[in-house]
């Protein structure tokens, strides 16, 4: 096994090294021709090429899809319908009540996603912050514990969803514990509150290690003498936390917030495997809605799904820009 991996590594890196040797003279000539300015173009080219073909073009195609109708899969066979799909998605009597909307499931999913992001991001920040504070103390085996919390980050979302479904289902591990404690077993994924909590909790479980590390890095970068100075001044601990720790952790908290927000809105795999969107539609999230409508469901409609994903991406970009601006102004500029 290892030799397979080893040879794979050699095979892969050898061409790269040769490539690097071969590129150099070409590049020197190119540099003579274009100056330093052309260099940036050269270094960007491979990434942008792949990026363009496999990310940008699909996004543009997606836009095209969103303006077509029918159930055909190939774009060429689909009739142009203009903004009809968007109109259908946005048609609603009362946006606070999804059932009054033409595409009630889309609005339900949007509402669920909003709630999910709200709870999950708060929980994520809280749990990661507490964990980071604890890991920042001088405890034995800190490296080990730091790794413990990081472990689930390495698992694939599908596995994460699967594991927890096995734990939370009627015949699952949690009910075994509950029964041993003399309580009534519950079907945890069958109640809208516990199922939603499970989706929030499981995704937090899976990703908190990553955020904890980011916050821990921030905590460790805070100079110790600041705390010593505060202690000399007799500053109460809560105040030290609020006035020293939090502000100095600002940039890292901003990173955590932005990333958690983006990932939260995109929640899919683990929740899909875990709850499938149920009970009813109470954990149906936008990405699942888009995936099912566009690809998986018996009621397939690629155009509608494409329109929904464009709306979602638009909201995300706006949210992120706002967030970045806010965090930049509060953190006093980019680091």
């Amino acid at each position: 096994m290892t030799s397979l991996g080893h040879w794979a590594g050699v095979l892969v890196t050898a061409p790269l090294v040769l490539l690097a040797r071969a590129v150099d003279p070409l590049l020197r000539a190119w540099q003579r021709w274009t100056g330093i300015g052309g260099m940036a173009a050269f270094f960007l080219l491979p990434n942008l090429l792949i990026f363009g073909v496999f990310v940008l073009i699909p996004i543009v195609l997606n836009l095209a899809y969103s303006m077509t109708g029918g159930t055909e899969i190939l774009l060429a066979q689909r009739p142009y319908v203009g903004g009809e799909q968007y109109a259908r998605l946005l048609e609603c009597q009362d946006y606070s009540r999804p059932l009054t909307c033409r595409e009630d499931q889309f609005w339900t999913a949007a509402r669920n996603t909003g709630l999910f992001v709200l709870f999950q991001v708060s929980l994520m920040v809280a749990v990661s912050l507490v964990t980071a504070l604890i890991l920042n103390r001088e405890i034995k085996g800190r490296g080990f514990f730091r790794a413990v919390f990081f472990f689930p980050v390495l698992l694939s979302p599908v596995v994460v969803g699967l594991i927890w479904r096995w734990i939370l289902q009627r015949e699952g591990l949690l009910n075994l514990l509950v029964v041993n404690l003399g309580l009534e077993p519950q079907v945890w994924l069958n109640d809208r509150v516990t199922a939603f909590a499970a989706a929030v909790g499981v995704s937090t479980w899976a990703h908190m290690g990553f955020y904890t590390l980011i916050l821990l890095a921030g905590l460790q970068a805070i100079p110790r003498d600041l705390y010593e100075a505060a202690e000399m001044d007799g500053t109460p601990p809560a105040r030290v936390f609020r006035r020293i720790t939090l502000p100095l952790l600002g940039p890292n908290l901003a990173v955590v917030l932005v990333l958690a927000l983006i990932r939260g809105v995109q929640i899919f795999d683990e929740a899909y495997v875990l709850t499938g969107g149920g009970p009813g539609t109470s954990t149906l999230f936008l990405t699942q809605y888009i995936y099912e409508v566009g690809f998986a469901s018996l009621l397939r409609n690629p155009g509608l799904a494409a329109a929904a994903s464009m709306l979602m991406a638009g909201v995300l970009v706006v949210l992120t820009l706002v967030q970045l601006r806010l965090s930049r102004s509060s953190a006093g500029g980019q680091r």
Binding site: L99, G277, G280, S282
Partner: protein, 422 residues
């Protein structure tokens, strides 16, 4: 630039593995052991026909559902595929008729159901059903016996069955009385038994009728009364399929409504834990109809080697092969000759298996015309999708059934409109 060129070159080298002459690729999915059985049968074929190289690509069912349609739409795909979405994709199937040595054999033995897989008005022979399925119920005989409740007999209605199951549930302190798989297909036979008819006079979907509402109403009531195991339907959104087999296997429910394909699964997993019986479909006002269905092996129009494909198909459709396949997989054969001859020796030591399969064969005679029409109907999936999506929302308490009714009609109408928007 060089990187790109290099990768492109390698990519071409790897990707462009053209269909070699004599190569036949079969895209296959498995619910149980049928992948191994078919591989075994194909190996034998290859031994006899060394010039044909048959490659079996075992895939997830998800691939058949989600990826194959896109491949087909772009004029690609395997040479043969095992599919369930027969009618909607009929335009992509190859008409084997010109390549077959004996088309009459196919018409005789598979003729009843060729309409399921060809376009309206066509006489093409695209393939054959690898198995026939029929929805139907299973009862945990041991649980009934322990509770001292008699298993309802012939002609028992759904209400009878649920009442009997409720008694078992109470007596044995089970979490629920019964469960139905989360699938629009599964509840359509019972709905037809209550007088439902999905198909309008013009062949387009009819509005949700009272028959459908009647059975849906019962399901919802049974769920709210705690009789129907809630999580199967409630804990998923959209059209996601969920089977309740595990709860039956685990003796958590005395009655389980699924279909003939479960026989092998139940046999493997229940083993000797309890006795179980197939009971057909309970009756409604209009009859006691299950719903037939099945997976078919079809040839794909875009194959480079139609001759070889036909040869493989002829082999797989031949009577002894069909017989052996059915006997080993515990599937119901869809081959008229095999069914007529009878005497299938299902390869199982489980005493529950043979009677169960025989029960399904018998129940297949009780289906109603409204049910028989569904497998070959273009909008069946749209109907199933709307039913399962909305009824589970009702069960979850998000809608009332009355509110759901126009939503289902809307969902179906949307789908029809989308498909006709060309």
């Amino acid at each position: 630039m060089t990187i790109r060129t290099a990768t492109a070159a390698i990519a071409l080298a790897l990707a462009a593995a053209p269909a070699f002459a004599g190569e036949v690729r079969i895209m296959w999915y498995s619910d149980g052991v049928e992948g191994e059985v078919i591989q075994d049968l194909l190996s034998r074929f290859e031994a006899e026909n060394p010039e044909i190289d048959v490659i079996l690509d075992n895939v997830a069912y998800q691939v058949i559902q989600e990826q194959l349609p896109i491949q087909l739409a772009s004029g690609q795909g395997p040479d043969i595929a095992r599919v369930t979405n027969l009618k909607e994709q009929a335009q992509h199937w190859l008409d084997l008729r010109p390549y077959l040595s004996d088309p009459a054999y196919w018409e005789t033995n598979f003729g009843d159901r060729l309409d399921w897989m060809r376009e309206e008005g066509s006489d093409a022979i695209p393939g054959f059903l690898t198995q026939l399925t029929l929805t139907g119920g299973f009862a945990n005989a041991t649980l009934f016996e322990q509770a001292g409740v008699a298993i309802p007999g012939e002609g028992a209605t759904w209400d009878d069955w649920i009442e009997a199951s409720r008694q078992v549930m109470d007596s044995q302190q089970l979490p629920a009385a019964f469960a139905v798989d989360r699938s629009g297909h599964r509840i359509s036979g019972p709905a037809v038994s209550y007088g439902a008819n999905y198909i309008g006079e013009d062949g387009n979907p009819a509005p949700i009728d009272d028959g459908t509402m009647a059975f849906a109403g019962k399901l919802v009531d049974w769920t709210s009364q705690g009789l129907m195991l809630p999580e199967v339907w409630v804990s998923a959104a959209g059209t996601t399929y969920r089977a309740a087999a595990d709860d039956f296997i685990n003796a958590q429910i005395p009655f389980y409504y699924s279909g003939s394909w479960q026989v092998a699964n139940l046999s493997t997993k229940i083993g000797d834990a309890f006795d179980w019986v197939a009971v057909g479909t309970p009756c409604g006002d209009a009859g006691c109809s299950g719903l037939a269905g099945g997976a078919a092996l079809v040839a794909i129009k875009y194959t480079q080697n139609p001759e070889e494909v036909a040869k493989v198909m002829e082999y797989l459709a031949s009577e002894p092969v069909v017989r052996e396949f059915s006997e080993r997989t515990l599937f119901l054969p869809a081959h008229a000759g095999v069914v007529a001859a009878g005497g299938l020796q299902f390869q199982s030591e489980d005493p529950n298996v043979q009677p169960a399969l025989e029960k399904f064969v018998q129940a297949s005679t009780e289906t109603l015309p409204a049910s028989d029409a569904l497998p070959a109907w273009r909008w069946a999936n749209a109907y199933y999708g709307a039913l399962v999506t909305r009824i589970s929302q009702v069960m979850a308490g998000e809608l009332t059934l009355e509110e759901a009714r126009p939503l289902m009609d809307q969902d179906i109408a949307d789908q029809v409109a989308a498909a006709q928007q060309q």
